[in-house]
């Protein structure tokens, strides 16, 4: 049985495509709050998110949400068990309004979870639009939004179903400093309020160190470090594999 605050456990996960092994026996856990997942391009970060959320079938190992195994479940069933996620490029329905796109985060859950009534859904969407400062855009089609707002809408949609764990794939990529603040501050508040567990893939190390109480580092599909940011970012093999001497000072 995992400790009470651990929401997601990855055990000995192996993923291969053809002859290539992309993830090699990765094990770690995600507790409440933010956990950072970093590593160089091609390290297997997005593959790991895909394996956790059911988009890729692992050849070995398992994933637990709380104490319930997710392995071999299809993505929509995993989402209904309480796993939300975003993608590197926002995947919104262009013709639907912001309100409708956020609502879409709940639509797949209604009817499966009897606790989620329509009224509760409406209230939650209104709350998210207000918290993430999206009210001005609510009736605009997603296609008309700037890229930064599309990213915020996707995060709001991932949070709409009140998941136990959220996987964020490079939420700050392509955003300016002010836009990052606009996304991150309300996200932090929401995570604290709801006691969410977030696994965040991000190349902005300053942001990762600011948000996360723990960092896991992948390199060539292997977990090479797992611990508090201040310790992990000073490890020589992490610096060599990913950061470079200049960035290591940030940690």
């Amino acid at each position: 049985m995992p400790p009470a605050d651990v929401r997601l456990t990855v055990e000995d996960l192996v993923v291969g495509f053809g002859g290539n092994t992309v993830l090699q026996g990765v094990s770690f856990s995600v507790a409440r709050g933010f956990t950072g997942l970093i590593g160089p391009n091609g390290a297997g970060k997005t593959t790991l998110l895909n394996a956790i959320s059911g988009y890729v079938s692992p050849t070995r190992g398992r994933v637990l949400l709380g104490d319930r195994p997710l392995t071999s479940l299809r993505p929509h069933r995993i989402a209904r068990r309480g796993l939300g996620r975003t993608f590197q490029t926002p995947r919104l329905v262009p013709e639907l309004t912001v309100w409708e796109n956020v609502m879409l985060g709940l639509d797949g859950h209604i009817g499966w979870d009897r606790k989620r009534s329509h009224v509760v859904s409406l209230v939650r969407v209104e709350e998210l639009l207000r918290q993430l400062d999206l009210n001005d855009w609510r009736d605009h089609p997603a296609a008309s939004l700037p890229f930064s707002s599309q990213k915020v809408v996707e995060v709001a949609r991932a949070l709409a179903a009140d998941p136990l764990v959220v996987l964020l794939d490079e939420p700050a990529a392509g955003l300016g400093p002010a836009e990052v603040e606009r996304l991150i501050e309300p996200l932090k508040r929401r995570v604290e309020e709801r006691g969410l567990a977030v696994l965040i893939v991000e190349h902005d190390i300053e942001l990762v160190t600011r948000l996360c109480s723990r960092i896991v580092v992948l390199d060539f599909g292997q977990l090479i470090a797992d611990g508090a940011p201040a310790q992990v970012l000073r490890l020589p093999h992490v610096v060599n594999a990913y950061l470079g001497a200049g960035v290591a000072a940030v940690g």
């Binding site: 959320s53 929509h76 995947r91 329905v93 879409l104 639509d107 797949g108 859950h109 991932a158």
Partner: protein, 330 residues
């Protein structure tokens, strides 16, 4: 616009339209009523394609066959003493079941491969109309028992029936498009890989769209039987599929109004091509030449007006010059 004025205008429009539909048989000649009924029937069938191809992004080429299932099954059941509404509902439901069956390959097939699979299913249905002579009477054809209601002649009754069904379908689908189901269908069309992460089973919604589309095709086919009164397999062959596709793309694939606009277009063009003037000038456009003309129209529309005629008002609005604004320097 003030909401009271807006709702008043809508109410007045609905009343005027209702009155027009009600009194049309009294003022229009029988042939024109026949064409208008045909338009309404094609519009019902077209809305099914809007749901499936426009909203859900699936390619389905069995629509003519499923239209035929509705026509034949309703005629068969009504011919065996079933009340017409029950026969039509049962046949449309059977058509929906077959539609879901057509949709099963959609779990794994996409694009060209799905098109071929559904086209083959449509052809299979057409062959069934030819070969299953105990049910369909094959190429000899099947007479349709006309519906009757005291005080109304059959053609007027079929007109009212078609328009009531069309109105009900339009209202229902408009609500559906704005509902949770409508949003999920559009998500399957635009962001299918991401739907899983939202708890949405893309397969479930694809099957639902196939079933809704086939139900509407079957329902339209049931009314079509009453209009045409005699069914033969060639009515539900490839040329009808081409007409449905032209209707869909000319009208506008994403909009329900496109199904109606497209239906008006295909019936009007067909009448034009059959008119004495055109047929004497270009004899090739009579008969199978019509399919060729529709096929060419389809190519031109997909190339130059991909969103269809229903999108024209919005396109024109976006091109209208905006009032000049003064920059701070001025």
């Amino acid at each position: 616009m003030n909401p009271a004025v807006r709702y008043g205008a809508i109410g007045f429009g609905v009343l005027a339209l209702g009155a027009g539909v009600f009194f049309a048989p009294a003022y229009l000649n029988a042939y024109l009523m026949y064409l208008l009924t045909w338009i309404a029937i094609y519009a019902i069938a077209g809305t099914g394609l809007t749901v499936l191809m426009g909203w859900t992004g699936q390619i389905a080429l069995a629509h003519a066959g499923l239209f035929g299932v509705g026509a034949y099954a309703t005629a068969y059941l009504a011919g065996h003493g079933w009340p017409w509404p029950l026969a039509a509902l049962t046949s449309s439901t059977a058509s929906a079941g077959l539609g879901a069956l057509v949709g099963l390959p959609a779990a794994r097939l996409r694009g060209f491969y799905l098109a071929i699979a559904t086209l083959a299913f449509g052809e299979l249905l057409h062959q069934a109309f030819v070969q299953l002579t105990p049910l369909s009477r094959g190429p000899q054809g099947m007479a349709v028992v006309p519906i009757q209601l005291d005080g109304i002649d059959t053609p007027s009754l079929v007109w009212y029936l078609a328009m009531v069904i069309l109105a009900a379908v339009m209202v229902t689908l408009t609500a559906l498009g704005r509902s949770r189901i409508g949003r999920c269908l559009k998500a399957v069309r635009d962001i299918e890989p991401a739907t899983g992460s939202l708890g949405i089973s893309a397969m479930r919604y694809k099957l639902l769209a196939f079933a809704i589309s086939a139900f509407l095709a079957g329902l339209a086919g049931a009314v079509f039987g009453q209009l045409i009164t005699f069914l033969t397999p060639d009515l539900f062959d490839l040329p009808l599929l081409v007409i449905f596709l032209v209707q869909l793309f000319v009208g506008g694939v994403n909009r329900l109004s496109g199904a109606l606009i497209g239906a008006i277009f295909v019936i009007a063009v067909r009448e034009l091509l059959q008119s004495h003037v055109v047929s004497s000038l270009v004899p090739a456009l009579v008969g199978s030449g019509q399919t060729l003309a529709f096929g060419l129209t389809l190519i031109l529309v997909v190339r130059y007006l991909p969103s269809g005629l229903a999108s024209l008002p919005a396109r024109l609005r976006s091109r209208r010059p905006r009032p000049a604004t003064l920059s701070p320097m001025e």
